[in-house]
């Protein structure tokens, strides 16, 4: 039993699972249950009816036979002329034996017993007599009572009596007979064995027939549901394949019934889906083609114009003032036209779905430093200090460095443009699954409503503002698209008068969704780099680089050591500070840090 239990439990679970998952199994099982139930009811009713009929018939026969035999016995007793004991006994026994019937088969058995509680005449030689194996005990007491208390009425009752070793069902019918002034009870017992055997046989036939029918019904149910269910599960398989992109997948349609109609309309749906998807793909391809062609067609003449403009520009000193200015304008505007065209083409490539991600594991900290190095001249022009706060080690991210480079360059240039010469703080932080780069400026800032729109195409916070860097108005839109391609987040925070913060969050590994960014979007600690084992780079303008160590009075402090200049490249940014030094690193505090570089900018321009 102990060993069997897990097996049963497993079986139960398997059935439960099958019940949940298979409509066919459920239908067949239900049908079987219902069929078995109804057969049990019908079978019970039938066998009950048959048993009843058989019994009633036998009973009627028994009663009439009893009536006849009792009369015979009484007549024989009444007409007897015997007086001596032995002839009386012989007469009674012979009479009674005659009741059993002739032939090899005993037709009825008898129990013959003198009624109790009566005065015993002298010539009463017979007390009781019964067929083989029988005693008065086989007669139910109720029957005896009924017979004893009645006049000359006949009563019956069901009983059981022994034959050989078995007990047989029977009907006992009793009455009284009188012999020589003594009243006897005479019970005749009729065997119901034949009837019982017939009944058993009928029941067996019913049972076998029922079982066969139930099995057949189960089979029919299985067949019918299979016919209905199998196209449905086929449809499920096919639609799975369709969803997986196998657009040519179709259902097999046979006949004209409902199932065939389902198949046909399914196929129709699949065909129109395929057509639309193909159409979309073709459209996208055409768009891609168009972009590519326009790109080529425009770029070739633009290259010529640009080269010509540059040749003229290089020779402008030889021109008269009007031609010289014209050459300068031409040169500058060709540049601007080119960057606009490049942005337009880039964005249309995104729209056409032609942009692909060329990702490989790259150190983002190094990339950020690289971008900062690249924007140094612009930072110097605006007079803004650029600080970097990054983890000491490297952070390897699966990314398309060309695109991330473009995003970061864009964010930093944007911060410089709107930073009003105040420091721009760049932070990098990584968690187990994501890395974030935040670019914080302390310039004019923007309202939350404006922050929500910065990634819109051609959107400008203040249309009247001069376009100092000549941006196309597409820079942040492209950045947003580039981010989307990486499954990353690009978000903006702004506060009027307190600057803004742009945060780029990327998953470390591709196809791993970001759950939270390692950096806050809304700056908690405005402008202060976090303390801890961090390295910090402060960017100064190149012209000042040579004088920086001398010009900074606190050259011996860790802060000053961290002040790498662009001329030093990365050497200045390898500092790995312990907690107490890191917090106070130059350029971070609003008064100390921002003042220095701004001053520098002024000097540079002077």
């Amino acid at each position: 039993m102990q060993r069997l239990l897990p097996g049963i439990r497993y079986l139960l679970r398997a059935v439960q699972r099958k019940w949940r998952r298979s409509l066919q199994f459920r239908t067949v099982l239900t049908t079987l249950m219902l069929a078995i139930g109804s057969f049990a009811v019908v079978g019970a009713y039938l066998s009950n009816q048959i048993a009843n009929n058989l019994f009633q018939e036998r009973l009627a026969q028994a009663e009439s036979e009893t009536r006849y035999n009792v009369k015979q016995v009484q007549d024989t007793f009444d007409g007897a002329q015997v007086t001596d004991q032995s002839s009386v006994i012989t007469l009674v026994y012979d009479t009674l034996n005659a009741v059993e019937g002739r032939g090899s088969v005993i037709q009825r058995r008898y129990v013959f017993e003198a009624m109790p509680e009566q005065t015993k005449p002298r010539n009463r030689w017979v007390e009781s007599r019964a067929s083989d194996q029988l005693t008065i005990g086989v007669i139910p007491p109720d029957l005896r009572k009924a017979v004893q208390n009645s006049g000359k009425d006949q009563y019956w009752a069901s009983t059981q009596f022994p034959v050989g070793t078995e007990d047989r069902p029977g009907i006992a019918v009793g009455n009284k007979v009188t012999f020589n002034g003594t009243v006897y009870e005479l019970y005749l017992i009729y065997d119901l064995n034949t009837a019982q055997k017939t009944l058993d046989e009928i029941q067996n036939v019913l049972l076998a027939g029922g079982a066969v029918l139930v099995l057949m019904i189960g089979g029919v149910a299985w067949y019918v549901t299979r016919n209905v269910v199998s196209p449905v599960s086929h449809a499920a398989v096919v639609s799975e394949k369709l969803a997986a992109g196998q657009l040519q997948e179709r259902m097999v349609v046979k006949g004209e019934d409902e199932v065939a109609r389902l198949g046909a309309s399914f196929n129709h749906m699949a065909a129109s889906l395929q057509e639309q998807i193909t159409q979309l793909a073709t459209l996208s391809q055409m768009q891609q083609r168009f972009v590519s062609d326009v790109s080529h067609e425009l770029r070739t003449p633009l290259t010529t114009v640009r080269m010509a403009a540059e040749v003229l520009y290089d020779a402008r000193e030889d021109f008269d003032p009007i031609n010289k200015r014209s050459a300068e304008l031409l040169y500058n505007q060709v540049e601007r036209f080119q960057s606009l065209l490049a942005d337009l083409l880039e964005i249309s490539r995104f729209d056409a779905g032609a942009a692909t991600l060329d990702a490989e594991p790259t150190d983002i900290v190094q990339l950020v430093a690289h971008v900062i190095e690249g924007v140094a001249p612009v930072a110097a022009e605006y007079g803004s200090a650029v600080t970097l706060n990054a983890p000491a080690g490297s952070v390897i991210v699966d990314m398309d460095d060309r695109r991330i480079d473009r995003i970061l360059r864009n964010l930093i240039l944007n911060a410089l443009e709107h930073g009003e010469g105040r420091p721009v703080n760049i932070s990098v932080a990584a968690s187990d699954t994501a890395v974030a780069v935040a670019v914080r400026d302390h310039g004019i800032g923007m309202t939350p409503a404006e922050a929500a729109r910065v990634f819109d195409r051609f959107w400008r916070a203040d249309p009247a503002r001069a376009r100092t860097t000549g941006g196309s108005g597409l820079g942040l839109s492209i950045a947003a698209e580039d981010t989307k391609l990486h499954d990353g987040w690009l978000q903006a925070w702004g506060s009027k008068g307190h600057g803004s913060n742009f945060r780029l969050t990327l998953p470390l590994r591709r196809h791993e969704p970001i759950t939270r960014s390692p950096l806050h979007l809304e700056p908690v600690n405005v402008g202060l780099p976090e303390t801890g084992r961090q390295r910090t780079m402060v960017l100064l303008d190149p012209q000042r680089s040579a004088e920086t160590p001398a010009a900074t009075p606190g050259a011996g402090t860790p802060g000053a050591a961290a002040r790498g200049t662009m001329a030093d490249g990365f050497r200045g940014f390898s500092g790995d500070f312990s907690g107490d030094g890191g917090g106070a690193v130059g350029g971070a505090t609003p008064d100390g840090g921002s003042a220095g570089p701004r001053e520098t900018g002024m000097e540079g321009r002077a």
Binding site: S295, T300, M307, E310, D358, D401, R402
Partner: protein, 224 residues
């Protein structure tokens, strides 16, 4: 002696402009406007460098590039109007050493041309080894055992750069600077494609490189 440069471009204005710029910088330009004739002009003029437009009538620039590369190691610089990754990579894979995306500045073009024409530095007799590959720097020979491996000058320079400092991991930017002569950040795909091409020639199994190893997240280094 003036270096001769074959300019294969169907746009006459651009070709003329390139000619002006090249002449201005002391080169001798030769022109061809049709891809189908490019190979004949190449054989006739024996240029020191080819400037090749990717989109050409007659024959695709990529096909021209492949044919030129099949018979010569002459440096090929592509002029591409397409900035799409696939086009650039396809061009580089067909044998081009470098590319200049349109629209370019004259100085940029000249810089690329000069970088490719850079005369092999004073090559002292020097033999380098990476893994089981032997490099004879002066003789411009690369061999594994007795088998010579034929490399283009660019691939050779790339291999030598790695082999000279086997202890150093080269970032793609550093290789761009040392091998291609870029001063500013440029497209690192150049490095990827050429490393792959180099590997396909010198590695026993390019899928499991032993000579040029990738350092994840950083760049490449020589095998030991």
């Amino acid at each position: 002696m003036k270096a001769r440069i074959l300019v294969v471009d169907d746009d006459e204005a651009l070709a003329e402009m390139i000619g002006i710029v090249l002449r201005n910088d002391g080169f001798e330009p030769v022109f061809c406007a049709d891809g189908g004739q490019a190979l004949d002009v190449f054989r006739a003029s024996k240029p020191d460098l080819v400037l090749l437009d990717l989109m050409l009538p007659g024959m695709d620039g990529i096909e021209v590039c492949r044919q030129v590369r099949a018979e010569s190691d002459v440096p090929i610089v592509m002029l591409t109007a397409k900035a799409d990754t696939s086009d650039v990579v396809r061009g580089l894979e067909s044998g081009a050493d470098d590319y200049v995306p349109k629209p370019f500045k004259p100085a940029e073009l000249v810089a690329r041309v000069r970088a490719r024409l850079r005369p092999g530095d004073q090559k002292a007799p020097e033999t380098l080894r990476i893994a089981d590959v032997t490099i004879d720097v002066a003789g411009h020979l690369v061999s594994r055992g007795n088998d010579r491996i034929s490399l283009t000058p660019l691939e050779f320079d790339l291999l030598v750069a790695l082999a000279r400092k086997p202890w150093q991991v080269f970032t793609r930017e550093l290789l761009l600077e040392q091998v291609w002569g870029y001063r500013h950040a440029a497209d690192t795909r150049l490095v990827n494609v050429h490393v792959q091409r180099l590997r396909s020639k010198i590695e026993r199994d390019p899928e499991a490189p032993e000579v040029v190893l990738t350092v994840r997240g950083v760049g490449y280094k020589a095998g030991s």
